[in-house]
Subunit: 352 residues, 2 copies
DNA sequence: TCTGCTGATTGGAACGATCCAAATGTAACC
DNA sequence: GGTTACATTTGGATCGTTCCAATCAGCAGA
């Protein structure tokens, strides 16, 4: 026993070590490992004892090489540090783990160059599939060049630019951005607001475009006009939202409510309003998007749209697993529903 | 060209395909791939052209098998959904990517059983090293049993239970919890506070014990007594902190300030104080720990301890890379410094 | 004894790369 | 021409597993 632990410092024990160790062939040991019903009970017991004795660890890479299969799935995110994606990743990993897959992680930090590099690096490890939340401005042809048409790919959260050639029949899982923003806008309209702004986000982001579309849809349906200065762009974070807040009130008529691009922006806007002496939820109503943890606990609590990122993660994993199971079925395009969470930031009627 | 893209649907192109495709041996192609100076310029050009033509992708798994090396590192976290760890993971992945490694992700969700399963699963993929932030209550012998003494392991953030045998000479990267809490406490004392509570966290968590130790250290050094009811335990989240808030004021003398286990708890306590009609930062001072994004932007902004999780991630990656480079050097034990960020939640003197 | 059959086991060739020793071609020198 | 030196190239074994066809032992039936 002592001998084993010393020798094991030098070289990992392999199938053959076990085989010679208990006087059977490699093939038999392999069968035991995979729980084949072909092997005799007694030999199975003998082999398993030896496996424990030498404390053998399976070399999945070698097995995958021979079987021309893979047991990993690549998860590439544009911003892992963002809690939304962190929770998503957590869900993905959870579901993949259940299915016996391992997650290859890659974070691109919104850089297209890094996305290329990460894709190229991960693809060399031969993942069975890829879940990709593309960086802003990512392009079909670039992604396709890096991954090649072989590996199944699931696009999450964002579309990629460039008109997709038929070759790329990727699955897609998106959030219902447009409907979400429409719901929020309708909610504000129902409360009596007429001057409603759309605050935050960048025009070149697809999710922002979709949310803006939902907002305009609701406004148009209610017969409300949108003043140009009610569309204020800013980076999707708190700090920039605070800075851009005054732009909302630069011209009249000033809005009495705002649909914000996401929660971070909404929380920033709240802060900006406070700095102007206004009281969010009282003399100005606003909504967010994402339902991050702090949305429910702020003062006032923020009305927002829940997207259930962990569930989306599990769903993404599920979709890619299905794809592996049926490689030839038609590509799927799923728009995950979002849910309006009404809270105090939009309770009160405007004091116009 | 069309032929290639069709045939490539069936089977990945390999070294031999390239070799026969341009009339050289596999060995030569291999040399080209690895940029060896041995090959002639002309043959290199010829081979590279063929590589592009067949758009070959390197099979790193096969190479690793032969070279008995690995190009991946496992990252196992007790709670990926936590922004602190998400940012840490982001830093790890960033640094590992630079070094040409790929990150194998595993999230345990604070479950020891899952930790075992995840470790066992990931180790089969033969990572070159492991970065582990253990689940609460994780044990040396369990971890050791799962990973075997072979693979270098870096312990992050938490110690594991059980007295470590000499066999496990793991590197460790910890946060300076004790000093952090001591700094916060000293800061409150310097502001004039005498009745200071320690709020939140669980006694069985090692980081909580360390922070509590820093608090008592500072109190003792200042000659201040600690009343038993100033130590209030609660789960490390906002919701439970709100619930437990009244316990602080159940008996007199009531504290005028509190050192909180972390930011989440501190933000919850703020909320709880507001519900009691108190004004955090004005008639009660408090500090957090972690410096999460919302700490700076709350009302009032929260005094807390910055731990720079992304930097810690890069550092962890760096440490494990160094370990791979020098497998035999003495195990390292690094305690990362934390930095006190003084903000409005602790500006004012108590109104006693 | 021979044949057929079932249940267990096995040797050897893969998988796609790398390593190594040996072979090849070319130029240079005596 | 023969020897040496150098720059390139290469066949075959190998990493640790799985696949496949072949083998083997044991037993029943003729």
């Amino acid at each position: 026993m002592a001998t084993e632990s010393i020798s094991s410092v030098h070289r990992k024990t392999t199938l053959s070590d076990i085989a010679t160790g208990c006087g059977v062939s490699r093939a038999t040991v392999s069968l035991v490992l995979r729980g084949s019903p072909l092997v005799n009970k007694l030999t199975r017991a003998k082999v398993e004892k030896e496996l424990r004795r030498q404390n053998y660890v399976y070399n999945r890479a070698a097995a995958n090489l021979r079987r021309r299969s893979s047991s990993s799935i690549a998860l590439i995110l544009n911003d892992l540090a963002n809690p939304f994606f962190a929770e998503f990743a957590s869900g993905v990993d959870e579901r993949l783990g259940e299915a016996g897959y391992v997650t290859l992680l890659g974070s691109t930090g919104e850089s297209i160059e890094r996305e290329q590099a990460v894709l190229r690096s991960l693809i060399e490890h031969g993942p069975a599939g890829i879940i990709l939340s593309p960086a802003e401005g990512s392009d079909v042809s670039h992604v396709l060049a890096a991954v090649g048409g072989q590996t199944p790919l699931l696009l999450f959260n964002r579309e990629v630019g460039g008109n997709a050639p038929k070759a790329a029949h990727w699955d897609r899982l998106m959030l219902d951005n447009q409907r979400g923003a429409r719901l929020a806008t309708e909610h504000l309209i129902a409360l009596g607001h007429r001057h409603i702004a759309f605050f935050g986000g960048h025009r070149d982001s697809s999710s922002c475009r979709e949310r803006f579309a939902g907002y305009t849809e609701a406004m148009r349906a209610a017969g409300l006009l949108i003043k140009p200065h009610w569309r204020v762009e800013c980076a999707p974070n708190r700090v920039d939202a605070v800075v851009q807040c005054p732009a909302l009130f630069a011209r009249s008529p000033a809005p009495t409510a705002a649909v914000c691009y996401n929660d971070a922006v909404a929380l920033g806007l709240m802060l900006g309003l406070c700095q102007r002496g206004m009281q969010p939820g009282h003399d100005f109503a606003l909504t967010g998007f994402d339902n991050i943890a702090e949305a429910a606990l702020g003062v006032p609590p923020l009305t927002t749209l829940a997207v259930a990122p962990r569930e989306r993660g599990r769903q993404a994993a599920e979709l890619i697993l299905q794809r592996l199971h049926e490689p030839l079925s038609a590509p799927r395009y799923i728009i995950a529903p979002v849910q309006l969470m009404v809270r105090a930031s939009s309770y009160t009627l405007p004091t116009t």
